[in-house]
């Protein structure tokens, strides 16, 4: 049986070798893991921004595109070095728990209410609170992310502000799909429903069908992004130097200029505001 064991060992060694080949980035470990939101990835911002950052610093940024809630949880488990999300209340809770070092405002854009071009509920151009009240009154189909993402948190806050307790008042018209922004837009597109989206994902989205922007420009629809280094005190494995370098670059004049320069069809997706004390 000796030869059998020996050949098995050789085969295993070959396999291990093949594995290290398939993981070239393991060798050069100048990299960080950034837990972020689907909107920053689906809108293409990271695809545009990260190569520029890498060219400058040589640091490879590995992006996990999750919802804000999931991204913060990933960081709480110490599986990320930096979080880049958009739900200020959740971020401040994260800081208060001691998981984050400091929160830096980075950029903003806005949420928009999307719906069928024909607008069966008749909400076009109204303010967001009236629009939501009308959707509820007419029981018009509405897709909710239902995944504790930044957009979902914003949506729930808007229902509350509109005086609607969505937990008790929702009916079959209100569907929580528990998925990312793109999936929510696909669902809305297929079922001609209303949906709250961030503008970046919408601009990059290609399966619009009959959907259009119906409500925008309301100041309640402001969408602020923030970035935080995961606290080395809680997570000793955090690559704090590389992570802080990424954060410093994002909020530097140079990084802010790159963010402002990202456009789709000539439309700017994100507006830098690192110096905004209220951001």
């Amino acid at each position: 049986m000796k030869w059998l064991m020996r050949s098995l060992l050789v085969l295993l060694a070959v396999l291990m070798n093949a594995m290290s080949l398939s993981a070239p980035a393991l060798a050069q470990d100048k990299s960080i893991v950034v837990a972020s939101t689907t909107s920053t990835q689906d809108s293409g911002l990271f695809g545009y921004l990260l190569p520029i950052f890498k060219e400058k610093t040589g640091i490879e940024v590995k992006v996990l595109a999750q919802g804000t809630g999931q991204a913060l949880d990933t960081a709480r488990r110490c599986d990320a070095d930096v979080v880049f999300v958009h739900a200020k209340s959740a971020e401040e809770k994260f800081l208060a728990e001691g998981y984050g070092v400091k929160r830096y405002p980075v950029m903003y854009n806005d949420f928009i209410l999307i719906g069928p071009e024909s607008d069966p509920a008749g909400i076009r151009g109204k303010d967001i609170l009236t629009a939501l009240q009308t959707i509820k009154a007419k029981a018009a189909p509405f897709i909710s992310r239902g995944d504790r993402s930044g957009t979902n948190i914003a949506e729930l806050a808007l229902w509350k502000e509109a005086g609607i307790n969505i937990e008790s008042d929702k009916g079959p018209w209100y569907k929580e799909i528990g998925q990312g922004m793109g999936a929510a837009l696909n669902t809305a597109s297929a079922s001609n429903a209303y949906v709250l989206s961030d503008r970046g994902t919408w601009l990059a989205f290609q399966n619009r069908g009959d959907l259009a922007i119906l409500v925008e420009g309301d100041k309640r629809l402001f969408n602020q992004y923030g970035v935080m280094l995961v606290a080395p005190a809680k997570c000793p494995n955090v690559k704090k130097d590389f992570g802080q370098q990424f954060i410093d670059w994002l909020v530097s004049p140079e990084g802010q200029k790159v963010i402002a320069g990202y456009k789709i069809n000539g439309q700017q997706l994100f507006y830098p505001n690192a110096n905004d004390p209220n951001g």
Partner: protein, 263 residues
């Protein structure tokens, strides 16, 4: 749909789209042409086959092949042993292996994630969100498939040859190897079944790999991503390439399998 693609030039599609962003299909109008668009896009993608697509394809193949090899190396002897040995818990083990055939990839992904997470028991290895983590998850998925299939086939081989092997004076341990050799054609089927499961699944590797561009993005996670961006025919085109790859692997395996068995 390529009208849509043109809009998206410069976004996270990566290089593989930029190259043919200006291609438009004659007579293409509206959503009805998703399938035609997908076929056309798939052909263009294969024609160009640029660096990013090559990386995604080789990671898919590499991870799934290594994972199914690992599952096979452990599972095949165990499945054969289940056919050869007689012991009290045997029936229970067989039932468990068969039940695990229906193991949802997302559950395997979650378990591996919790084990490999920095705050989990194996966190110190730091292999979460790496291709290694993906191999582990897919190997776990393939393992029960190999055991169940190999056991099923080796039961027949053992019924036919078992007595003769034992009479010849072989121990049961040694007989495992002889039985595997006799039934080697069936082993290939078990390997291909494990590979098929691995190359096709997205639930586990999405969780433990993280779909990181240029690092842990595979065919299936790229398809999920493109779908979420609304690039449906582009996602379908990647799916077509995945099917072609899968056919190539099973074709090659059957070819080598024939050479091996001399038929």
């Amino acid at each position: 749909m390529l009208r849509g693609h043109r809009k998206c030039v410069g976004t996270d599609h990566g290089e593989y789209l930029r190259d043919f962003a200006d291609i438009s299909i004659p007579g293409s109008n509206g959503r009805m042409n998703d399938f035609a668009d997908a076929l056309y896009t798939a052909a263009s993608l294969i024609g160009h086959f640029d660096a990013e697509l090559r990386e995604i394809v080789s990671l898919s193949l590499g991870v799934s092949l290594v994972a199914s090899f690992c599952a096979f190396l452990l599972g095949a002897p165990l499945g054969t042993a289940l056919a050869v040995y007689r012991f009290r818990a045997k029936a229970a083990l067989i039932v468990i292996a068969n039940a695990l055939l229906g193991l949802p990839p997302v559950v395997v992904g979650l378990v591996v994630y919790l084990l490999l997470s920095r705050s989990g028991p194996l966190g110190s290895f730091g292999i979460l969100f790496t291709p290694t983590a993906m191999v582990i998850a897919q190997a776990l998925l393939g393992f029960p498939i190999v055991i169940a299939l190999v056991h099923r086939m080796m039961v027949d081989v053992w019924a036919a040859y078992g007595d003769a092997l034992l009479v010849d004076g072989a121990s049961r341990l040694r007989a495992i190897f002889s039985v595997m050799l006799i039934g080697r054609e069936g082993l290939l089927t078990a390997f291909l079944a494990a590979f098929g499961r691995a190359i096709a699944e997205v639930g586990a590797i999405l969780i433990v790999g993280g779909n990181i561009r240029g690092y842990t993005r595979t065919m299936t996670t790229a398809i999920a991503l493109e779908t979420s961006k609304g690039a449906l025919s582009f996602a379908l085109a990647l799916g077509i390439i995945l099917i072609i790859l899968s056919m190539a692997v099973s074709g090659l395996s059957l070819f080598f399998g024939r050479a091996l068995t001399g038929r």
